[in-house]
Symmetry: C2
Subunit: 379 residues, 2 copies
């Protein structure tokens, strides 16, 4: 990783999709020392549906002053940004390109609900989940209800996830909600789809983040901190939750993490922090279990007992995660990588951890596509 | 290439997007001898906008019985299928995966105009071309008018492109228009946007095509014809036509072809046939020039003088191209590869050429993203 850039996540009504993407690219290229970029991979889910613009590889390359280079857009719902990063990593690691730019961008606030919810629902099975009326939040609520029933966890115990994310967002200047939550506030929050309340849901917002990738030797030669990808894995599951043998098991998260662990030669105990995908609180609990940090049904208990704050056994969402920083859908996976890079190279500000190995995981739909990366810093 | 599969291009009102994709996959896997697929790359432009379904990597993998494997969707307007193929090629060539499935799919007839035209317009610059009112056909018409003005070509001389494509489609059971055209019929055709008539425009339609990629040694070991990728290149240009120094020069087509020629160690004279992107007749002329088959301004004359039919110096669109076979947007780039493979391995039926090296080129927008592949058969 030669450089990272991000724009503050907000409802950015005065900025267009292309402006957001370009702002994050300008920041990343400045951070990287203005290398000559050879390719651009854009992670985006809803450019066509919400802003009237597809073909974002060429468009963003053009407006970033890079017309001519190889460019494309990749889409896998909420995993779009993570997959764009994987393509960038593979292009550099395999020697196809030396300097690659990865950009995640999403502009969601140009439309209002129910249009935005309908667009987000495109991540799920249109014919067999959405057409009968399940929204993304409704699916998460049913999974959460089943979890409470199966494992005897109290609804209020899920509060630890949004409370942790919001606490960490306070010191992140790029976060949408820089305000700590209290348990009392959580307990009184409005229900979105019982037992899921509004604080269990990550917000609709706008944002863009970019990363510049290069062979490790380039960073060494420039005397920069060498943060490298040591593990990368993608896996899929049935798109519809009702087709899974166990709706409480994120099989694709488990498989993609296993691929990343295997490539990196690491096990969960060697991961210093985990930028997990807290689109809903329940997803955070299930990701902890699927990735081997907690036993089945023990994700919520693990959060309480081992600790997931900055001083816990496994810090998660260290810059605010999807709940505190915001979840600009196709951009989120790249924001997660930016967070990992900042922690590993010691530029995470007030939230800085003492760390050497970080993991990021992005999830599309209800766990149908999952991409996991392990990054390490040479010290 | 271990196997190819395609569904007949039509207005397929009784088939859903996922059914089309899966039918082409079943055919390709059967042709390939049912290998164990490790990854799926889906090229698709408008699943979200026209059929209410995004996240097609996971969805198609799931309904093809492949849930679990790595999967993603790539989008670059009309170049989507070609870019999906490039990702598949790179994954196999770099050793990331051994057996990769590439699927292009598009379902455009679930909506009517003006919705379909508005969706296709997402390929162009939304803010600076489409918002002021230019449709894709209007842009092509302006380029064609300029070409006629600059190079003194008669409008009727463009007829050679649709006439050739339709003639070749007659014997392709997967083509939409299996009917030859006459020059008289062309001359009387209704204007879409003068000087572009309706026979200069490729049709809106539904379709899906798939290719199975594997290391060449796998095909050799199975005793199958070894068709391999010897050149692959992607390049971009400004997304808006008005930002180009010369609107009659497809810079990205020239650059992507140059990259492919360089990798393959070939020059244009060594290409036996060219599956070019005849979304509009004018694009065919410009592609012949950009790829070095004709001098600037000589594309139409080259077609008449050297010949582009099956017995010409450079056969193009040998199975009907976009005009005769149909142009199911994000699927088209994969159909082109299927056509090249069928020619190279001798399974092109009545249209079979005596050939060893074929080239395919897919174009997004008005030439903003272009991807070129050169394939060769070991004989």
């Amino acid at each position: 990783m030669l450089g990272v850039g991000q724009v503050p996540v907000q409802e950015l009504w005065d900025k267009s999709l292309r402006e957001l993407a370009v702002a994050s690219i300008v920041a990343a290229l400045e951070d990287a020392g203005q290398p000559a970029v050879e390719a651009l991979y854009v992670g985006n889910m809803l450019g066509g549906e919400l802003t009237g613009q597809a073909h974002l590889g060429a468009l963003v390359a053009d407006f970033a002053g890079l017309a001519g280079i190889e460019a494309l857009r990749v889409e896998a719902a909420g995993a779009s940004g993570g997959l764009a990063f994987r393509l960038g990593y593979l292009a550099v690691a395999s020697g196809v390109h030396d300097i690659v730019l990865v950009t995640g961008v999403e502009k969601m606030t140009e439309r209002l609900d129910p249009e935005v919810t309908a667009a987000l629902a495109l991540a799920h099975d249109g014919d067999f989940e959405m057409f009968p009326g399940a929204t993304p939040a409704a699916l998460a609520a049913m999974i959460m209800q089943r979890y409470i029933h199966e494992y005897g966890v109290a609804r209020g115990d899920f509060a630890i996830f949004p409370l942790t994310s919001h606490q960490n967002a306070v010191h992140n200047p790029y976060a949408m909600y820089r305000k700590a939550l209290t348990r009392e506030f959580y307990d009184k929050a409005e229900m979105t789809a019982a037992p899921l309340n509004i604080l269990d849901c990550s917000p609709t917002c706008d944002g863009a983040a970019s990363v510049v990738l290069a062979p490790a030797q380039v960073a060494r030669d420039l005397g920069r901190p060498v943060v490298r990808v040591s593990g990368s894995g993608v896996a899929t599951d049935t798109i519809a939750v009702h087709d899974r043998a166990d709706p409480l098991w994120l099989a694709a998260a488990a498989r993609s993490a296993a691929l990343a662990y295997q490539q990196a030669g690491k096990d969960p105990a060697e991961i210093d922090f985990f930028e997990l995908y807290d689109d809903f609180s329940i997803t955070a609990a299930l990701a902890l279990e699927a990735c081997g940090f907690a036993a089945r049904g023990q994700g919520v208990r693990f959060a309480h007992e081992a600790g997931i704050g900055l001083d816990g056994r496994l810090p998660i969402c260290t810059m605010g995660g999807l709940k505190g920083r915001g979840n600009p859908d196709g951009a989120t996976g790249v924001y997660q990588i930016v967070d990992v890079v900042n922690q590993l190279r010691g530029t995470a500000g007030a939230n800085q951890l003492d760390c050497r190995v970080g993991m990021a995981q992005a999830i599309g739909g209800s766990g149908a596509t999952v991409v996991t990366h392990i990054l390490e810093v040479e010290k």
